[in-house]
Amino acid sequence: MANAWKIARRSNVQLPLILVVALAVVLVLLGKAQGTLFDKMRAHATDTMAPVLEKVRVPVAGFGRWMGSITEIFSVYQENLRLKDENARLRQWRNVAIVLQGRVGRYQALLHAVPEPELNRVLARVIGRANRPFLQTMILDAGRNNHVLPGQAVMDARGMIGRIYLTGNRTSWVILLTDLNSRIPVTIASSSGKAGNIQAMMTGDNRVQPSLELVSRTVILHAGDQVTSSGDGGLLPAGLPIGTVVADGSDGWRVALLADAASSQDVEVLNFSKPPEAPPASAQLPAEAAGLKPQAPPPAPATTVTPTPPATPAAKPPVTATPKPQSTQVPPPAEAEAVDR
């Protein structure tokens, strides 16, 4: 009887098993080639679960804080001393930052500099986290309805956490900087001041600190160098704080992230898709501020109508040196010097 059962089972089950295995292999290849179908299903599933996640989030976050407080209670005194020391240092840096901010503002006014493109920010709440073997992600309660789009940077109060990679109507998934699939072009500001800015690629490998792949092999990094986004590729704005360089102990470098994705509750999604603001009128361009007035374009002949080629930078009128009175917005040197001090 048992033998008959096995024979019957082989004839009924083994054949579809081969087909199902083949189908699974096809699914892997299909997912590699065309992952958007899966992404849509994931986004739809997350949108459906969003109300439940928001309800569950509060008690789970409270439990997490309680668990964290158990371990922290033994180091409260040392932590208090460390924070006081850090607070004193940060106050000094705050004063320096205020002076430098005023100086930069004055230089911008002197140069009539084109302002940085304004970033729209969407405040979102973390309603879920997943730490899977092949994916480290968090889920936000803002989606396409809030104008959140894939590729946008996600920041907490300290620094960059990751990028949006999947959006539903009401939720979005964030690929963390530590994730295996995360690759961010970064700029490293050398603390020695000799090497200037160093370009590198920061890649995640599911470890706490992403690794750095230097573009140039000749540069020398130092532990503590500041890492910011470079803005290369135009996907992310330049200058987003990311972390500091640390040695990984095996002739390589990693980045100690400023942000803590495990504890962040409220984050900002930066909308960098907005086109940069239009440059100011020609009267405010730096060339004119420096005393160089653009020449008026020659009048076009009105007798014949001919198709005109598209405008190119070479077709712009040449700029001639023409003296121009100094702008009234420039502060007097005495005042500028006083602020510099």
């Binding site: 290849l29 590699k32 989030r57 986290r129 890649t203």
Partner: protein, 182 residues
């Protein structure tokens, strides 16, 4: 004297009970993939869906078919957020290997049963890791580290005993043994 107890399922509920293994697997997928991290992401969540697949593959292979395993793996892929198709392939291949050695696995008990499930979980995690590593190789990116998948394997084996308690209770209450097993 050993007495055999068998749940008598009315005919009109047989269709309903036939989907209990699949529903258990899908419930395991859903619970394991709720994106809530109680321990702050220190440990990865277990593959809760593997316990129903393993259990009913041994006990009622007529209900836990390859197609049902494929469906559960597909749900795991959708909800876990990893590379598409990885867990589908891992579950189906694990099912195939366990089904081929069904008599050996079904005869295990106690600690040996846990080790048998650990072998099945090792197959699933190995297949998933190898598939992701192959995709990473094709993409020219980093190979995934071993530690997270080993953590998931450990958690899956750790949760085998409680998962099997629930699954076997449901089996005795709702599904029942197949006629050939009695």
């Amino acid at each position: 004297m050993v007495t055999l107890e068998r749940t008598v399922v009315p005919a009109r509920f047989r269709t309903l009970t036939a989907v209990v293994p699949m529903l258990c697997g899908l419930a395991g997928v859903f619970v394991a993939n709720i994106p809530i991290s109680i321990l702050g992401g220190l440990v990865p969540p277990p593959l809760l869906a593997l316990a129903p697949i393993y259990f009913w593959c041994l006990v009622r292979p007529d209900l836990m078919t390859p197609a049902v395993t494929f469906t559960i793996g597909f749900a795991e892929d959708v909800l876990s957020g990893g590379p598409p198709g990885i867990w589908t392939l891992a579950f189906v291949l694990t099912y195939a290997l366990v089904a081929r050695q069904r008599d050996s696995f079904a005869g295990l008990s106690g600690l040996a049963a846990v080790l048998g499930f650990a072998a099945a979980a090792t197959i699933a995690c190995s297949v998933a890791y190898i598939a992701v590593a192959a995709l990473a190789f094709l993409s020219g990116t980093h190979f995934p580290p071993m530690a997270p998948i080993l953590g998931e394997l450990a958690m899956t084996v750790l949760f085998y005993a409680p998962s099997t308690l629930v699954v076997s209770w449901l089996h005795h209450k709702l599904v029942g043994a197949s006629r050939s097993d009695v």
